[in-house]
């Protein structure tokens, strides 16, 4: 039995090193998985952040949440001649494709080109004649 003691000790030490390595690799995998999940969760966050920027952009609004019809028309002309702009607005800049839809019961403007998840923001549109109508701003994007 004594003759087996030395190989047994070596075997256990090797086993210890293997298990320790597995735990280290497992921990690293968990951290990687967490980062992946957190990135998925941010899709909504990106839409909300961008939407809030749209609602306070000086090229679209008079003040926060008050969209200006004249400014939107002007921005729509800009978008038609700058189709490569990822968001479609002259005063906003983004590195990912984002689509913004501004609509009221009568009118609808679409900026940018993207398909994916959506988030909706309530807003109010100040018309050229000084009256206001309810509006909906829809942000659409797909983040990998």
């Amino acid at each position: 039995m004594k003759g087996y003691e030395e190989p047994t000790t070596t075997f256990i030490e090797i086993l210890t090193i293997i298990i320790f390595t597995l735990f280290v690799l497992g921990s690293l995998l968990m951290v990687t998985k967490f980062r992946t999940d957190a990135r998925l969760a941010t899709t909504k966050r990106i839409m909300i952040d961008f939407g809030e920027n749209v609602l306070s952009a000086n090229c679209l609004t008079n003040e926060k949440n008050v969209l200006n019809e004249t400014k939107i028309r002007s921005e729509f002309e800009y978008y038609k001649s700058n189709k490569d702009d990822k968001d479609g607005f002259s005063c906003l800049e983004t590195s990912i494709p984002i689509k913004t839809i501004i609509q009221t019961e009568e009118t609808k403007w679409e900026f940018g080109d993207a398909i994916g998840k959506i988030f909706i923001f309530p807003a109010v549109l100040l018309k050229d004649n000084g009256s206001t109508v309810p509006a909906i701003v829809t942000i659409m994007t797909e983040v990998d």
């Binding site: 030490e13 298990i19 969760a41 807003a123």
Partner: protein, 167 residues
């Protein structure tokens, strides 16, 4: 001495396994907690309520005959009525808060439920301006799926909105 070395190796193996289990457990808790904080708390509670906040901020800017909803609310609180009489520079206007709120909320939340009311913090009483359904107290008693926003109007009064998004 060899027996001692063997015992030490076994103890070292067991200790490694126990420490590994402990680390996995701690990482598991941290992982769950981080996901909870990131998704549930920040995304769902804080960010998603921005929709209700934007609704309230937009509604305050809605105008009728040159008078904004926020101006009318102040008159409403002081005149203690949901149809305050306001002079708009040309004539006296009876501003119906319910009509303006309905125009806005019925368009923005056509598929969702909402409840807009004035809340008095000193008396702890509320007065409903508009709700999508009858008995909104019961509808919004279940907090699941609710988002809420409020703006102060005066020392005691708040304008509050509850939104329940359709599944």
């Amino acid at each position: 001495m060899k027996g001692f070395t063997l015992t030490l190796s076994v103890i070292s193996l067991i200790a490694t396994i126990l420490i590994g289990i402990f680390i996995s457990f701690v990482l598991g808790i941290m992982y769950s907690f981080h996901l909870y904080i990131t998704k549930t708390l920040i995304i769902e509670k804080i960010y998603s309520s921005s929709n209700a906040q934007d609704a309230l901020l937009s509604l305050l800017e809605m105008k009728k005959e040159g008078i904004s909803f926020k101006q009318a609310l102040i008159y409403s609180v002081y005149e203690n009525t949901l149809e305050p009489k306001i002079y708009n520079g040309e004539k006296e206007v009876v501003y119906n808060l319910k009509d303006v709120a309905k125009e806005f909320l019925d368009y923005v939340y056509r598929y969702d439920d909402y409840w807009l009311f004035l809340y008095n913090t000193s008396t702890q009483k509320y007065e409903t301006i508009l709700a999508s359904k009858n008995n909104p107290e019961k509808l919004f008693s279940d907090p699941k799926g609710n988002s809420r926003a409020q703006v102060p109007l005066s020392k005691d009064y708040y304008l509050v909105i509850y939104i329940k998004t359709a599944d």
